[in-house]
Assembly symmetry: C3
Homo-oligomer: 318 residues x 3
């Protein structure tokens, strides 16, 4: 049966098979073009995007699909998310109609929506994504939602699988400083997929910046970065704003930036980040510009992760 | 001879044939792909669009065409509409050059432009559309202009034709409340096409909100909504700002909203709206979410209406 | 060997051959579609664009390529250009990552970036273009940079070649008034290509508005427009802000506008401009609307200039 939804790791049946298919696609990205003929992917952006925008388009084109891109807020109408509202103020179109209508024109829909980072309950309820899912009548792929970014995580898993030189490498997710409040989505999702992949994962972040227990479960969370980095094979760095004190920005934590000196505690670890990255805030130039950095290969693998998901949504079961 | 312009009902030679062709296309949307090979549709938006943007793209792709989309005001230059102006202020490019240049790159051009709703004479002269037509050298299709939205009306006719269970159903165009000043374009155009289709049309709106007599001609216009709705088979609801007191918004008319109670006066009428729609202002959730609502099918039919027009512009005469 | 960069005239090996190929493509734009199969062009706009946006898309589609368009500032992230910066302020992504990542998804990248017109050294160092080139790993075509617009110039050369009725016509580049500070890019580039084509070029502009000597070399620069226009076969008009008093706008020079009376000094000169053009500021309606105007053909030739460059980047050597 064709994959109908891709919004979290829970939508993956057998990760190993998915990774194998992604590698097969990467070997020859154009081998499945018959699957996409006369099929249209609609990409709906409620927020900015570079990698997701281009890699998902490219993935669809590689499959022979057509793509239509829509920046909802600048090209279309302000969307109402609440049910039962008397819509006599700013919003112009209800998500029920938006999702239902876009489903008329697309065979698969991708949608990106960021959290507000004001109301934790609302963000973690994934209101926008869930309402879109409820009213769409075609398969929907998350291009990042309030609390997850599964296409990124799938590309990250693929990158680690391609690069690792031992069967069970140590992977450290290391919190980074940042001047603005960022979502927890990439980090939540990375943790979810690493647990799914039965990786040897350790998380390190300052006190007060622990991710939700619903995501981290029994993963070790260390507040001492140096200790966490010991013997790491992969260091995945990412900022997130506080989950506990929801949306709070950490100050005075500049020393959490990843430097060459810090990587000296590791097992010649590879450096990973989802991008965009603030240089010399999140990570020093000396690391990002070194051969240890996998960031461009992560970006490259976004195409093949997306292509795998789209191909499964088109009904491929190989 | 290939259709060269589609901006109003006057461009339709035989409506029955057009409806038949649209149904044929809907049966198999991909059967005419040879017609669009190496042909490019340019979609020029001076205003926001969701349905028109996606359905017209989809229509072109179904025909094997290429599509280029341009949001004129954010992607390009501020356009001068007046002839003879000394362009030493805000505008950067004259519509003469814009239309002439875009014609170099496209085989068919679609353009959307909303009215200002300040100067009735200017809006009803269709200055922007007419200047664009005058300087374009390829076929032009209206994606909604100051006073008409013919692709919407064609889809509406198609929807009624597919749904009706008697040869001449009663169709009521019922004005709706709305917090902002909206164009009369959808309503003018619907009336024009319904008259063209020799439908049994009745219009109902508050006093002071009568549409232009040039559009309504001898169609009954009732200021009593309940009376108008009696025995209706289709209720098409839409707000428009005043034509008489040009651009005025009606206040205190909340009771013109379509509810289940109001539809009880009808012949189990189907509910229609062009979307986007403000829920619980224009129409109650209970109606929009009921099986009586045709709004998604109207949206779906936008593709086949556009595809029919494009196919005729590509020279198909079957 | 495939063309790897197209940012200035220096990237052209044999101009005559390029012009011949462009004419051949114009004769039948679809004859090279096998070259573009499964190849993707990414168009990255840091600034507005109409002609370049549509003609370069059309060129790629004519070649069978796929196209992805990205308006960097509105769709993506604010880009950091400086090396070594601590990115803790407004910028979100470094051009190193942007160029490297986009290279993962595209076979050829086009990029447009305007000068700031504040700091001459910075603009003329072509910082943004050069940094993009340094970090891109696929061929890059300039869609206009701080100091050059080579696709425009190539189309201009093609237009003159098609139109001239003597082997070495007199071409006059005539400065024009304008209310805003414009780049020197189109003019610099036109001069560069005209010198490359060994044309009989004369430049005329007010004192204080001479272009850089690095571009004009030994081309005659007259401050008397009437004298310069004597016997001209082509009058190419364009405003540019001052190079000497960098970015300065000229005031009180309204009489530099091209009028019919001024063209009476010429050899029935053809009128050229790259567009967009401010009517009755840069050029009078009577000239732009006359048969002497080549502006639409220049715009048309943008497609074939771009198609020639892209075809060479795809490896065609015929």
């Amino acid at each position: 049966m064709a994959l109908s939804t891709f919004t979290s790791f829970a939508d993956v049946d057998h990760l190993d098979n998915w990774v194998e298919l992604a590698k097969k696609i990467k070997d020859n990205p154009f081998q499945f073009q018959d699957w996409g003929r006369n099929k249209t992917l609609g990409l709906i952006f409620l927020n900015p995007s570079l990698r997701t925008r281009l890699s998902t388009q490219k993935a669809a084109l590689n499959l022979g699909m057509q793509v239509m891109v829509m920046n909802m807020n600048q090209d279309g109408w302000a969307i109402e998310m609440e049910d039962g509202t008397v819509m006599n103020a700013g919003t112009q179109e209800h998500i029920k109609e938006a999702a239902g209508v876009i489903s008329q024109y697309c065979d698969i829909i991708g949608i990106r929506t960021f959290p507000g980072l004001k109301d934790r309950g609302e963000d973690y309820a994934e209101n926008i994504m869930n309402k879109f899912l409820a009213h769409a009548t075609v398969p929907v792929v998350s291009l990042e939602s309030a609390t997850r970014h599964p296409l990124q995580s799938f590309a990250d898993v693929l990158t680690i699988e391609e690069t690792k030189n031992k069967s069970k490498p140590k992977v450290v997710l290391s919190w980074a400083p940042h001047p603005r409040a960022l979502p927890q989505a990439v980090s939540n999702s990375f943790v979810e997929w690493m647990i799914g992949a039965r990786a040897n994962l350790v998380i390190t972040n300052p006190e007060g910046w622990d991710l939700s227990k619903n995501f981290t479960r029994d993963t070790p969370v260390l507040h001492n970065q140096e200790e966490a980095l010991q013997g790491a094979d992969f260091v995945y760095t990412k900022n997130w704003s506080s989950f506990e004190n929801y949306g709070a920005i950490a100050t005075g934590k500049e020393n959490w930036m990843i430097t060459k000196a810090k990587l000296s505690h590791t097992n010649e670890a590879k450096f990973m980040h989802c991008l965009p990255v603030r240089r010399n805030v999140v990570v020093a130039d000396e690391v990002l510009d070194s051969p240890a950095s996998l960031v461009l290969e992560q970006a490259n693998n976004r195409t093949f992760a997306a292509q795998t998901v789209l191909l499964k949504m088109l009904g491929y079961e190989g």
